[in-house]
């Protein structure tokens, strides 16, 4: 969307004020956390304010002052500041963990806000780790929050792990390659891994490599074929689902730090939000033949995880190009005349119902390849009406290419030329009309 001058001016001013605020807050924090020699406290680990702040958990026999001291000495690494990472970091910060490092390369987008609860409208386009750490510092300035805006890969993660000694790692990532990477890093550095995941109405949670329990590779030695993996961008997710799992990740991390028993290791928690049921699956113990945590591991240093999984280490869609140059139509040449031209939108029906271009027709790609009779009859009738050009459209211009190829191979009419709208509705919104929602 184009940003007006007023908006730009306000954004700049807000940014300046934020920086000023951060300096003043730091000053206040330094003043408040000066070592205290309070005569009423047995040890000087805590200030009077800290005792008050954490009292509701410290008076529990499971925590006590020793448990709180362990939390304060604890260092946690969180991979991903999204739907899982936000609620997890929120509770860990509130609980008084000593140091929390956040790793995420993305910036906040409007479509994140329904589930990534640390980010707000003012944070759009700001790095997620920045937005998250600002909020966390407001909640508990005793915690050292370290935002790292880096893409988690073999190089960056091994450096991060070397620089600091973490007690627990939280996998709050959104893709398979990063999950294998984080697993291997944790096994090689002997750190327990609290792994959460969520999609649509379901969540999964377990703790890997803890108390001689299994690792991710013990359970899933082979990554799934990329086309069978759905991400939140495509499959969608209801906000409270990662919320529930992220909060439980924080719980398991706190239990590990405080050294409480019955950590969720060797067990897999399945959460089904559609029926609001939790199920505990007893897992296998560590696999002695596991390639990374077994007796004779074959993977002893980090590998190329994108190559290993055949998929990128992010949840963005990689654009494909499977048709000829001549068949690609730039979105700027989107047909004006929708009498002699037909535009077929191949998105799922529910997405088409949410938003669509007037005058287009919806034939979902999944239905075209399942049963092409309906679309064949439709095209046939349009051809009889004199239509000569048919355009395929979808969200990003990938499924529309697949649909077009399928049509070319299965429903070919001499008189008709097939075209693909390059870049799909994302391109339409970018170059033609920004009021069409990019989702």
């Amino acid at each position: 969307m184009s940003v007006s001058e007023d908006t730009q001016q306000l954004l700049t001013e807000i940014k300046r004020l934020r920086e000023e605020l951060a300096i003043k807050e730091k000053h206040l924090h330094d003043l408040q956390t000066e070592p205290c020699n309070c005569k009423y406290l047995e040890n000087n680990d805590f200030t009077t304010d800290e005792i008050i702040r954490y009292s509701r958990q410290m008076i529990m026999p499971q925590v006590q002052i020793d448990g709180q001291a362990r939390l304060k000495r604890g260092k946690i690494l969180i991979i991903g500041a999204g739907g899982l990472g936000c609620p997890a970091a929120l509770y860990l910060t509130s609980a008084g963990v000593g140091e929390i490092t956040l790793v995420d390369y993305d910036e906040v987008e409007l479509s994140n806000l329904h589930r990534q609860i640390l980010h707000s409208e003012n944070d759009i386009n700001i790095p997620k780790v920045q937005s998250a750490s600002d909020k966390l510092k407001n909640i508990n300035n005793n915690v050292r929050v370290i935002p790292l805006k880096v893409h988690a890969d073999s190089n960056t993660l091994s450096r991060i792990i070397q620089d600091d000694k973490y007690d627990v790692v939280l996998d709050c990532s959104d893709n398979v390659a990063t999950r294998y990477l984080v697993n291997d890093v944790c096994v090689m550095n002997d750190i327990p891994l609290v792994s959460g995941s969520a999609l649509q109405m379901e969540g999964q949670l377990t703790v890997y490599h803890h108390n001689s329990g299994p690792c991710y590779r013990c359970l899933f030695p082979v990554p799934p074929p990329p086309h069978t993996v759905t991400n939140c961008g495509d499959g969608g997710v209801l906000g409270p689902i990662p919320g529930v799992i992220g909060v439980l990740q924080a719980l398991e991390a706190l239990k590990i730090l405080v050294q409480l028993p019955d950590v969720l290791s060797g067990r897999l928690l399945l959460f089904d939000g559609s029926t609001t049921t939790f199920r505990n699956i007893k897992l296998r113990p560590r696999n002695e033949k596991c390639e990374v945590c077994g007796v004779n591991p074959t993977i002893t240093k980090l590998i190329d995880y994108e190559q290993f999984c055949g998929a990128s280490a992010h949840d963005k869609v990689v654009n494909i190009d499977i048709i000829t140059f001549a068949e690609q139509t730039d979105v700027k040449d989107f047909p004006q005349d929708l009498q002699n031209n037909i535009v077929i939108d191949v998105r799922p029906e529910l997405e088409y119902k949410m938003c669509s271009l007037p005058g287009t027709f919806n034939f979902p790609y999944s239905l075209i390849i399942k049963d092409c009779d309906k679309v064949r009859k439709f095209v046939e009738s349009k051809v009889q009406d004199g239509v000569t050009d048919i355009y395929f459209l979808c969200r990003r211009g990938n499924d529309s290419q697949r649909a077009m190829l399928y049509m070319k191979e299965n429903i070919n009419f001499e008189a008709v030329q097939y075209h693909n709208i390059k870049g799909g509705l994302h391109a339409y919104s970018k170059y033609i009309d920004p009021s069409f929602p990019v989702y």
Partner: protein, 84 residues
């Protein structure tokens, strides 16, 4: 001897099977590999067959195991979730 058990589908298995649970009649005793094959064939899960956990009444099933199934046993089909 055939028994009727309940199959529970999770994550991608639920999407491919098009349902979250199903009754399934199957021979017992049955080897793990035969059980997996029968389930993936019946519920169109072939592409997931090397990427899932099977649990019998919430317990991990070993890949060498011979299972003695009883009527109304619950078999959960669990592929990993990776979103977040």
């Amino acid at each position: 001897m055939p028994v009727t058990v309940n199959i529970l589908f999770f994550a991608q298995a639920r999407e491919l099977a098009g349902k979250s649970e199903a009754e399934f009649t199957i021979e017992t005793p049955i080897a793990y590999s035969d059980l997996v094959k029968r389930i993936v064939d019946e519920f169109s899960l072939t592409e997931l067959q090397d990427h899932l956990i099977l649990a019998l009444n919430s317990d991990w099933v070993w890949d060498q195991e011979i299972l003695n199934l009883k009527p109304a046993d619950e078999i959960a089909v669990i592929p990993p979730l990776s979103g977040g």
